[in-house]
Symmetry: C2
Subunit: 344 residues, 2 copies
DNA sequence: TCTGGCACTCGTACGTTCAGAGTGCCAAGA
DNA sequence: TCTTGGCACTCTGAACGTACGAGTGCCAGA
């Protein structure tokens, strides 16, 4: 509302910015006197106190007890992130290091593993990287292998290098020629297409086969469609949990629910899922749906091999985090991973 | 030495056992009076005190400060585990629950995932499960797929259900007939054999092909051998890190190195590697080579589809843990996973 | 060899005090 | 109307002293 904006003139915003920066640095409530000393605001502590009172009135900061300094609230951080901070770009050496570190990767697993460790190191927080999602990728190749007369292995390879395999139990024994035929037809139609499109493209395939082979063909296709649609197989990689120890003073209480959340891939996937595809998303404290993460913030962004994002990655840390730096690291890493994926 | 054994008569051992049990339960140093009250030792506190003094002299227990009770040392736990405790068998309902929980698994990933969560839940500690190792498994099938004229995908499927795939860049384009021939010959010789044997069995294969195809054949075989030998690909799954919060009072200090160790698969693999194949191994406190785990104990055991173990699993917790219960759970879970693997 | 008694040690909990940081408010000045 | 210096007030945290109690070690007696 206009009312709120009117209340917050330039200087009050500067005060809020200073409070956030100091608190993130020192981890201690910041008072008016220290504030004017560390930042040259050009006004007296008394003036700052008045501003602080106003900021508290509006709910941007809060004091733990009467005779203490102020701490930003979730709302305060939100304003800081939205209006007062700029994403801090990585320095040239940092960019080189990122590039260099990721370039050594040999396969998709390795890319993801390196990415997540890198992100954890750069931000000194917990990093999360989602494997390139099946649904956004395209088919590179689909392979069928007869393992036994009535047992076929189905292998799906995507453009991002991801490989999924499934066993198919067929209703009857499967001839090698039928299998070869099926393989050829599937690949002719599906190669290069996005995964969700594929079922539509293969719908009439059984009709092209002889009556006797149709049950087999249908079974194989059914398994393929299942694999394509499988959302559960979305995987995630984690790193940097040891950084949780730098969380806060009231330690075990804060950290336990976080560790629990981190073990639940479902929860993490849902959190990342809330990320807007292109733009960077920052969820602060209670903005997180999952209450175990109420005192953490999540910075996440999509990454992809082209202009489109195929998966998400991000960082989880205390609400009291260095947002500009974290956002810079997340953005830079996402960008480079995208490039790596595009190249391979 | 005989000297040490002579020092420790029946009652002293009973006292040590009681101290371990109480301390594990209460997490607090245990004194002579409380001891005689909780266990009916049939002697007075004063007698117990004398025994305690002897036990301390021998290095089995230790008191944090003059007017405190006693705490078992690593050496004390060692004696307890070796001589004083029996593995506590799971109750019938527990066994049923384990069975039921594991039976639902659909593939190898799922088996491992369920196992590790189950173990974490049962023991309320951090559980570690190693994927069935490649080197101990046998070949079920090896598949070659032409993806491009000079690009072949190699897929290795083991009897434990594990699947490894590799891309092979061939020196020249590969004919489909050559590939089919190679595939057939490889499988004829390798199927059912243990992985380390395979290279020896395929050694003369290139000689059976025409001069022109030999480089390709050799390249494919080289990649296959590499895959077979690959020790790095040993994977591990973790669960129950949230249980670390129940570790102790001096929290952040103890937990951080543990979290760091848990992130290093190499370290975990080495730890599990020290497990004797069949027998259960217990490493207590400083017995662990890795110093970050100096205040933890590791209970591990091999598991396998037959009588031979193909991988290890275990539990990591504070030295102050319920050894009989933990060992019982580890043994039971290992046994059932073995059965599941054998069935599939 | 065991037991009861006793003096001793030492850590913890508790109450008190004190200094310092930080605030809110007010009246004066720009 | 906004800013500033001054002042009284509040509250936390550290420091200190005390009392309590748990637990021990030792000794003399059964």
């Amino acid at each position: 509302m206009a009312g709120e904006v009117r209340q917050l003139d330039e200087r009050k915003l500067a005060v809020l910015r200073a409070i956030v920066q100091d608190y993130v640095g020192t981890e201690e409530p910041v008072g008016s006197k220290a504030l004017v000393e560390r930042h040259n605001l050009g006004v007296s502590p008394a003036t700052v106190r008045n501003d602080m009172a106003a900021l508290e009135e509006e709910g941007y900061i809060h004091q733990p007890h009467t005779s203490a300094g102020r701490i930003p609230t979730d709302k305060g951080y939100r304003l800081f992130v939205d209006k007062l901070a700029e994403i801090k770009p990585m320095s040239a050496p940092e960019r080189r290091a990122i590039r260099h570190f990721l370039d050594g990767a040999v396969d998709l697993d390795d890319v993801v593993a390196r990415t997540v460790r890198l992100l954890a190191q750069l931000t000194r927080q917990v990093a999360v990287v989602q494997y390139p999602s099946l649904t956004r990728s395209t088919v590179r190749h689909i392979e069928l292998v007869a393992l036994a007369p009535a047992k076929v292995m189905l292998v799906l390879i995507t453009n991002t290098g991801r490989v999924e395999q499934r066993m198919v139990d067929c209703p009857g024994s499967v001839g090698e020629t039928v299998l070869a035929d099926l393989r050829a037809r599937i690949n002719a139609r599906a190669a290069g297409r996005r995964l969700p499109e594929v079922p539509g493209l293969l719908e009439e395939l059984p009709a092209l086969f002889e009556q006797a082979d149709r049950p087999t063909v249908s079974t194989v296709l059914a398994t393929l469609f299942e694999t394509l649609a499988e959302q559960n197989e979305e995987r995630i990689m984690l790193a940097g949990t040891a950084n949780l120890t730098r969380f806060g003073h009231d330690f075990p209480l804060t950290i336990q629910p976080v560790l629990e959340a981190l073990e639940e891939q479902v929860i993490l996937l849902r959190l990342l899922g809330e990320t807007a595809d292109a733009a960077m998303t920052v969820r602060i404290g209670r903005e997180n749906a999952y209450e175990g993460l109420n005192s953490t913030s999540i910075v996440s962004v999509g990454y992809g091999s082209g202009d489109e994002s195929v998966a998400k990655l991000g960082v989880i840390g205390p609400t009291r985090m260095d947002y500009p730096g974290t956002m810079g690291a997340v953005r830079a890493v996402a960008r480079y991973v995208g490039q790596i994926l595009a190249e391979s």
